[in-house]
Amino acid sequence: MGTLKINRVILFFLFLGLFSSCNRIGVKEKSHYSHQEKILKIGTDATYPPFEYICGDTGKLIGFDIDLIKKICAELSYKPEFLVVPFDGIIAGLKQKKYDIIISAMTITKERLAEINFSKPYYLAGQSIVVRIDNREIKSQYDLKNKKIGVQLGTTGEMTVKKIFNTTVISYDNISSAFIDLENGRLDAIVNDIPTNRNFVNKKSDKFKIVGNVFTEEKYGIAVRKEDTLLLEKINNVISKLEKQSYLTKLKKTWKIE
């Protein structure tokens, strides 16, 4: 009998603890929102230098896109909160309201426009080819037939290669893995956005080189949900303003992606 009573007392306190902790969480959330300025949650795949990546020295999220969106948030007096997510699920995450906007070197495409809205383009890019320095076979996109090509899952590079060339495509979770495999000889070429390709090639100019021309024209935009038209308008206005102030040009210079 005695032990039964003690058990009940313990159980009672356990439940009490459970509920009180619930309460605490709730209160915290509330104060979090009411006291500070409005929070804008931003989804990004931080594996794409120089647009968005985790700095090796400081461990901080940096890049062209990050600077740009911080500026936009400052203009709109939002407090930015970044969420790092894999690129292949980034649109689904936006639709599920895990974050409010995406800035992740994302090309505006017809397929994506069916799901989400894009801001005005803030950067012009295109697909280019990277090969090992000793490769003499591949000179342009027409030499890619029957070659092993690395791309990043869910990117326009993947879509382009799958559409145009009849060849083996290997989709990687992030483009840096593809560069490791190119270096190790498992791939013949990588098809990816030109600024990021340049970034990797500049870092290891003794191993890689860019061949051929940029063979697609792509515009990067900031993505928002279809229903968030007001937010989109605000962002578009700020982008126009930043263009006029030539802030974008300056920022491109800082990140060496003119």
Partner: protein, 224 residues
């Protein structure tokens, strides 16, 4: 109103059909990865287990280190290590690298199962075999292992199911197995619920078949 509901249902059925058609070619790859790596893991595991119970000290030490090291490192890290880490020297294909990583990792677990199974056989059995004039090999082959297998089958089939599920980790190095195919579809068409529901179902069907097969073998080996 009714028309709209029917429209939605038809749309959903078409989507399911599209997803299933997209996923089907990747299922044999998942099965291949699982079967190859599990077979290798069982062979390796048995060798390591026999090393562990042998009387040669150095074999014991090797097997102990092998098990402790491989059991202590996440499979995902092992896959990264074998594929990217050793990429400069070995240049393994994705499939080979994945199979090697899974089989090495699982051999550590399986060797422990084998060891437990073998140690569970009473000492009297060894004495009895000796009295019949059997040597060490014959004792193992004809007396101990046949009995140990009966004990081992349930935990081994457990490992097999775990191995089947863990084969999805190979998707991280770009191997186009079931999970990867799911992610590819997801990244193209942005449907989430349907795709992961169907991928999960496919895994469930495969593991259910494996479990059924394990039970069948168990029944077969039962002492009447």
């Amino acid at each position: 109103m009714e028309n709209r509901i029917i429209d939605i249902i038809i749309k959903e059925i078409l989507l399911f059909y599209k997803i299933i058609k997209f996923l089907i070619p990747s299922i044999p790859i998942t099965i291949q990865i699982t079967l190859y790596s599990f077979l290798l893991a069982v062979i390796l595991g048995l060798i390591i287990a026999l090393f562990r119970i042998s009387y040669v000290k150095i074999f014991q030490i090797i097997s102990k280190i092998y098990v402790d090291v491989l059991r202590g490192i996440p499979l995902l890290v092992q896959i990264f290590f074998i594929y990217f880490g050793l990429g400069k020297i070995l240049k393994l294909e994705q499939f080979t690298a994945g199979v090697i990583a899974i089989s090495i990792c699982y051999s550590a677990y399986i060797s422990e199962i084998f060891r437990a199974g073998i140690l569970a056989i009473p000492k009297g059995q060894y004495d009895a075999s000796k009295s019949l004039g059997m040597n060490k090999y014959q004792t193992m082959r004809y007396v101990i292992l046949p009995q140990a297998i009966r004990i081992i089958i349930p935990p081994i089939s457990n490992e097999f199911i775990a191995c089947l599920k863990d084969s999805s980790l190979v998707s991280i190095i770009g191997m186009r197995e079931l999970t990867r195919a799911g992610r590819e579809f997801y990244s193209q068409y942005f449907v989430d619920f349907e795709i992961w529901f169907i991928v999960g179902m496919f895994y469930l069907i495969m593991t259910a078949i494996a479990a059924k097969f394990a039970r069948y073998i168990e029944k077969k080996l039962e002492i009447p």
